[in-house]
C-alpha cells in the first residue's frame, strides 16, 4: 500500500490530494505546501472553486528526493586485502581519482565483517586468499543474507578460475577480476556507480 493512503480522510480519490493531505504527508504546514507549489517544487492546479489540488506523484517524488538527500553519503567502499603494499596502492589510487567515495581498507575478513554488520558498504572489493576469514567466506556469507543483497561485490584474486572452482567457486552475483589489480577497470566500475547514484538522486 502506498504510504500516501495512510493520510486517510484528507486524501482525495486516485492521484489527487488536497493541500491539507499533502501537508500532512510531508509533515509541513499548508502554507509551506502552497509556497512549494509557488516555487514549482510540487505540481498543482486550482479547481473551479479555487481550491488547490496537488498531484500525488509530485508529493511522492518530492519525498523520495528528500529521503535521498538526507541519506546522501559518498559511495562507501570496503577493500579487504592482506598485502600491506597492495592496500597502500588501493589507498593511493582511490585518493588520486578524486571521486565522492569513502574507502575503508581491511587486512582480513574478520575486521571487515564486523564493520559490515554495523554499516554495510555500497561496494566490497575483496581478495580471496587471506588468513582467518578469507574472501570466499565473506562473499558467500553476504550473498546468503538478504540484508546485504544490495552490496556490489568484486573479487580480485591471484587465483586462477580452476583454483577458484576447486575451492567451491563464488556465489552468483559476484564479479571476479584477476590480479594484478585492474585499477582502470575498478575506476570505471566505481565511476559508473557514482554516476548512477547522481542520476537516481536527480529523478
Amino acid at each position: 500500500m502506498s504510504e500516501l493512503h495512510e493520510a486517510g480522510d484528507a486524501v482525495l480519490a486516485g492521484d489527487v490530494l488536497t493541500t491539507q493531505a499533502a501537508a500532512r504527508l510531508l509533515g509541513v504546514s499548508v502554507g509551506t505546501v502552497l509556497n512549494m507549489v509557488e516555487r514549482g517544487e510540487l505540481s498543482a492546479w486550482r479547481t473551479a472553486g479555487g481550491h488547490r489540488r496537488v498531484e500525488r506523484e509530485a508529493v511522492e517524488r518530492f519525498m523520495r528526493r528528500q529521503r535521498q538527500g538526507q541519506g546522501a553519503h559518498p559511495l562507501r567502499i570496503m577493500v579487504i586485502e592482506d598485502d600491506d603494499f597492495l592496500r597502500a596502492v588501493y589507498a593511493d589510487q582511490f585518493a588520486s581519482w578524486k571521486l565522492p567515495v569513502d574507502v575503508k581498507l581491511y587486512e582480513n575478513g574478520i575486521e571487515a565483517m564486523i564493520d559490515i554488520g554495523r554499516q554495510p558498504p555500497d561496494v566490497l572489493v575483496t581478495d580471496l586468499c587471506m588468513p582467518e576469514v578469507d574472501g570466499f567466506s565473506v562473499a558467500r556469507y553476504l550473498r546468503s543474507d538478504e540484508r546485504y543483497k544490495a552490496i556490489s561485490i568484486v573479487v580480485i584474486s591471484g587465483l586462477s578460475d580452476a583454483e577458484i572452482a576447486h575451492e567451491g567457486g563464488l556465489p552468483p552475483g559476484v564479479a571476479l577480476w584477476h590480479k594484478p589489480v585492474p585499477f582502470p577497470q575498478l575506476r570505471g566500475f566505481v565511476e559508473a556507480l557514482v554516476n548512477q547514484r547522481v542520476r537516481e538522486a536527480g529523478e
Binding site: D83, D84, F85, L86, A88, V89, G158, P180, V181
Partner: protein, 128 residues
C-alpha cells in the same frame, strides 16, 4: 632464472609519475616485502609448506604494480613448489627463497635509482 627483474614502465605508472606518492609507496613496498621475505625464510627453515604457499601466493601479484616482476615470478614458483605443482631441482624451496631475497635487493636498487631520477626531474622542473 628470471630475466626481467624490473619493469620501469610499471614503476613510472605506479602513482602517475608523482615522485612523492611513488616514494611513499616504495617505502611501504620495502617494508611489506621485507616482512614477507622474513616469513618465507622462517617457513623454509621450518619446512612449513602451508606458510610458504601462502606467502608465495601473496608476493606473486603485488610486486607487479611496482615493477618487481622477478619477485612475482619467484612468488609463483614458491607457491607452485609448496603446493606440489612443481617438482625437480626447480622446486628447491630454500633456493627459491634465496632467489626471492636476491630479486628483492635487485628490485630495490632499480627502484631507488628510478626514484632518484624522478626526484631529479621534479627538482629540475621546480628550479628557478
Amino acid at each position: 632464472m628470471n630475466r626481467l627483474i624490473f619493469d620501469h614502465t610499471a614503476f613510472r605508472r605506479l602513482a602517475d609519475g608523482d615522485a612523492r606518492r611513488t616514494a611513499r609507496l616504495v617505502d611501504v613496498f620495502k617494508s611489506s616485502m621485507r616482512s614477507s621475505l622474513d616469513q618465507l625464510a622462517a617457513a623454509a627453515a621450518n619446512r612449513d609448506l602451508g606458510a610458504l604457499r601462502a606467502v608465495g601466493h601473496r608476493i606473486k601479484s603485488g610486486p607487479a604494480w611496482i615493477g618487481a616482476l622477478g619477485l612475482c615470478e619467484i612468488g609463483q614458483q614458491i607457491e607452485d613448489a609448496a603446493s606440489g605443482r612443481m617438482s625437480g631441482p626447480e622446486a628447491d624451496l630454500p633456493a627459491l627463497v634465496g632467489r626471492a631475497e636476491a630479486s628483492f635487493r635487485a628490485a630495490v636498487a632499480e627502484m631507488d635509482e628510478a626514484l632518484k631520477s624522478f626526484e631529479d626531474a621534479a627538482q629540475g622542473r621546480n628550479a628557478p
